[in-house]
Amino acid sequence: MKPLQYSPVSLAVATLLMAANTAQAADGSASARVGDLQYGNALDPGGFGAALMQRDLLGYSLLRAGVSRTPTGDLYTAPSPVPEDQGLGDWRYTNGLELGYITQTGDKDAQFFRQYSDWQNGFALSLAWLDMWKPETGDYLEARASYLSEDDNFLRLRVGRYGDFRVEAFYRNMPHTLTTTAFPLWEGIGSDTLTLPANLTPGNSTPADVKAASDAAARTTLRVTRTRAGVSLEGDMGRGFIGYGALTNEQRNGTRLWGGPFFFNYPFVNNGGVMETVRPIDFSTTDVSAGLRRAGKVWRFNTVYSGSFFRNRKTTFTYENPFVIAPVTGTPAAGILTEGQFSLDPNNDAHNLRVELGRTLPQRGDLSLTAALGTMRQNDPIGLNLNCAAPGQVGISGMPFVVNCADWNTPASLSRSTAQARIDTLLLDAKLSFHPTNTFGWHLELRRYDEDNKLRYQAFNPLTGDYGYITLNGSMGTVVPGEMGLFNPNNPAYWSYPAKIGSFPVGYTDTTAELGGDLQMGYRNTLNVTYTFRRYEPDFREVEYTNEHRIQIALTSRQFAGGTLRASYDYATRNGGDYNYFPYASFYAQSLPGFVMPDTANGEASLFAFTTDAMRKFDLSDRDQHKFRLIYTLPVGEATTLSATAHGQYNSYDTQIGRKGDNATGLTLAWDYQPMPRLTLNASASAAFSKMRWANVADNEGLVASDPGNADPTFGGPKYPLANVWNESDRERSLNANLQFTYQWSRTKLDGGYNLNDSRGRLRYDYASISAISATQQAFAATISQFPDTRYRTHSFDLGITQTLSKQWSARLFGRYEHGKFADWHYTGFDTALAYDHRVYTDRGPATDYDAGLVGLMFRYVP
């Protein structure tokens, strides 16, 4: 290795260059790019080969023992020996690889064992790397690669010259196993068309037939793989400007669980249809960015354009329905409902241009200005109401609610053919800070973010003159008379139906003003006080605005026993404008000319009150919040760090109906012990508790034809009586314990770890009277108790021994054992059947009790 040498000439030239050339150190994090900063896998999460790496037993310094600490007091990670580099012409390089064999044991298909880890029996490349550089010029090349499986691997290549430019290219596959216990009823999984097996008839199979087919369905795994590739570059463009850009593409392929609605089954035995289907994932997303920045001693400048282009190769998804959908009237259906359809995620484009400007000011001041303009656009064809073929019909025979497929299965039936959806965004941010004295500083920040939704869509069929849409693949109007979902001012059958006839153009403006001060109290203590005002103005929501006032007090102290304490407390109160429990009237047929109020005197059902007037949605309701966070890091002697983190957040909402409160409290204790570079021991334990409370009130459905009772939103009134109120809470407790150790002899290293996760969720409810309970479940009220707890508990053990075999070779034998238990009432009963009357499900749920493990032998070769 070439030693660094003292050279006055180089010093002189270099320092002059530094003074004259303001080009700043390059890094890849200036852009707004999300993702691809981490390359690792479950075998080596850090992506650094740390497991097979020996420790440098000399530590960080010959002048003192032990490991250095951060300014806060944490111990740095014990260093690894500097690899011996080799020469190749003017270049120096180090390289190596870690390759071996892995075999699994036990319930290796348990979902939680392989959620993001595509373990395979066979050879695995944990890491291969090449690190080359040219000392005289600063040119470098870095390559890293890993391969656990076809769906779990990465390759990254970087070339550049320090301070001048860098080009990076990567290719990676990232696995996500969604379930390993799927038993789909249909054929064609992974395609955009699911068909029933031959022994089932679309729209005409009995529940027994469906159950038999479901019982016979084969087990399969549903997963998604993200294949990402990209290139990025940045370089010195002269005069201190650095240009940078990136191009990334992701192909996301696989399958995931999906729905399939053909109206309720719960109130209608042997009717309706509810399906858990499997949809395809076949996405391509291309992201581009390009920017320019410059940072001088006074001014800082950055501008970046980001574009994202999402493409879905399967924007329509069709599935066959096995169930008979029949009118409750006992009369025949106008048509057999054999297929359902979804419009899947439409293609979309997004653009964002950000400009940032900063300037150093007197009194250690700084001004930072940011403006960003963005737009999100989508103009895919609008999916059709029905996909049944002409001359078919949907509805109830002999009744005035029958629709012709030909009137609804064509683009001509739409008010326009494409979505023409667009949201424009604007961000403005200005921050001013000064430190007029060494002990006092203040800052002021103003921020405004606006989303302007340009979409205006009215659901109108020019072929029929109907407003609204066909509900639930036509099933709702097939089962219940008058529930097709349509309004027509010229058709007496439809002119009183409160159909939803438009989409909400969701948008908002978020404005924040913050004033803060920092007071240095002696050398070791800093007090921060910040006041923040936030005004949130949503479009077409229950309130026109909310105002939040927040005061935060924070203390950073290095006063106590050489430790560092960071503590903060927030109090925030939020209130808003008058609450309108039903702000969506303009998007319903009632707002259209020609709407005729129901003739309740002649037995027509009156318009219902959409919800009770006591309802407050939690994101907009009045709220008080208390929040605290404590982080204390305490060095003990030369080798130990103790740290504790405590946090709490307590929200109470001023409401009788809706979310009433939520809180979370947690405590973590950690111990880091590094008495010498050869020994490290880390342990931590955490406990987190949370509780969420809410209330609701079941409406009195018996008033459906009552006027004005059915239209009365009064909480405690006839429609929403106090007797129907219910309260519920979800308490969660999560425990985590972790222990890691490493001990190294001269040629042998032993490492291991244990990790415990134990989460429990407890749902509890109470109710004013039995009428709060869903009508079909009331008969069981006397016998039912509370929901069983949800549970997720895993014990995971890791043990490895690494032996240096020669100067070039080392070997590592390692094992992992995981034991898990899981319970979730959503899947209760699925161990015996996935089909219940007119419902059929696909996912049996994660394994309730599993033991899985793997053993591997890896070799590390460093020439």
Binding site: L4, M18, P71, T77, W133, L384, S503, T645, N757, A781
Partner: protein, 364 residues
């Protein structure tokens, strides 16, 4: 790969570099003995390790360097240390006489290689003091705190001095919003997260083995969340905290890299971006109305079990506002699709938005 705007050092024709070279020559001409020292054998004899406190031996070497530094505009390549106003540079070779192991570990880092190549105007001989400030007082009295810019615990250097030393080169870019960011106001130093003295992580010269481990040093509660039933793939090494957050500051309170929380989510979940023909307001406004992005005890990062999560807002007439009981479970007395498996999402499947004319309530 060669790009047109990347010019090789030495063949650089940019005026700014020509000026630099001319200035360097002029200065060198005025310091004759330095120019002589620039002859083919650039190294000088190292002094013996001196713990006596007598700095005269170093001053002899550093006097010319000090004059040179004083004659330069700006920082002159040596970080300013207000804690040692009289200190003068002594050069890396002098530092290495004592700090042998540090030098060895450091030699493998990005900084060392960049300095060695003179990248960005740095130099090998100035590299220690480029960050630690002039070393003469420290060399004379190594145990005096603050005599040199120290980046470690109880090193005697205020955090602000530490960060300014780093910002001497690393200003702007990702650190555009460092000032008044939560990490700045909480008194974090760059070296709380980074360790420039050894390469202990694949990139970023992190204080721990990875970005995630480094963040977890303080954010232990967040790390614990990543162990929950549904989580982002951080423990599996597929993601880092810095994929979503910029710890150096941003225009959002949670230090997100994009304008909004949703903008960050769309970075990977572009299919959710739309805009859709029919939008679900809480989805469009903030993904975190329903999801906890770090980890959850529910499926798909949900903040509460379904259908109860939905029932906190959906109190509307008919089916949404009924109390659900275990009788509605699949093996209960009255199975109810509103409760089983995906619950509400069995029917309101396109809850993130629909592009179908019949998708007003996210059924299609």
């Amino acid at each position: 790969m060669r790009l047109c705007f990347f010019r090789r050092r030495g063949t650089d024709a940019r005026p700014i570099r020509r000026v630099s070279a001319l200035l360097a020559l002029a200065l060198l001409a005025s310091h004759a003995h330095l120019a002589q020292a620039a002859a083919p054998a650039p190294t000088i004899d190292l002094p013996a390790t001196n713990m006596s406190g007598d700095t005269s031996v170093y001053r002899e070497i550093s006097a010319d360097l000090a004059r040179l530094a004083a004659s330069l505009p700006g920082d002159g390549g040596v970080a300013e240390n207000p804690g040692a106003p009289g200190a003068t540079p002594i050069g890396t070779a002098t530092c290495s006489a004592c700090h042998t192991q540090e030098q060895l570990l450091y030699s493998h880092t990005t900084h060392a290689r960049a300095f060695a190549a003179g990248s960005g105007g740095a130099s090998a001989v100035g590299s220690c003091e480029s960050c630690h400030g002039p070393g003469s007082l420290h060399a004379g009295s190594p145990t005096t705190k603050g005599a040199i810019i120290s980046f470690t615990h109880e090193g005697g250097t205020p955090v602000q001095t530490q960060t300014q030393a780093c910002m001497g080169c690393h200003t702007g870019g990702a650190r555009q919003h460092w000032l008044s960011s939560v990490h700045e106001t909480r008194g974090l130093s760059c070296s709380d997260c980074h360790n420039p003295m050894a390469r202990g992580s694949p990139e970023g010269l992190m204080a721990k083995r990875s970005i995630n481990e480094t963040c977890a040093g303080c954010h232990q509660d967040v790390r614990a969340k990543f162990n929950r039933r549904s989580h982002m793939p951080l423990p599996e090494g597929q993601m880092s905290c810095a994929d979503c957050h910029n710890p150096h500051g941003s225009v959002t309170k949670p230090l997100l890299k994009t304008d909004t929380a949703n903008g960050t989510c769309y970075g990977c979940h572009a299919e959710r971006r739309g805009p859709m023909l029919f939008e679900h307001p809480p989805v469009r406004e903030n993904c975190m109305n329903c999801h906890d992005p770090h980890g959850s005890n529910q499926q798909t990062l949900l903040a509460a079990p379904v259908p109860m999560l939905c029932q906190q807002c959906h109190t509307a007439v008919r089916h949404p506002n009924d109390l659900q009981t275990p009788a509605g479970l699949a093996n209960g007395g009255a199975p109810d699709e509103r409760l089983i498996s995906r619950a509400c999402l069995s029917c309101h499947t396109t809850i993130h938005g629909s592009n179908n004319a019949a998708g007003a309530k996210f059924h299609r």
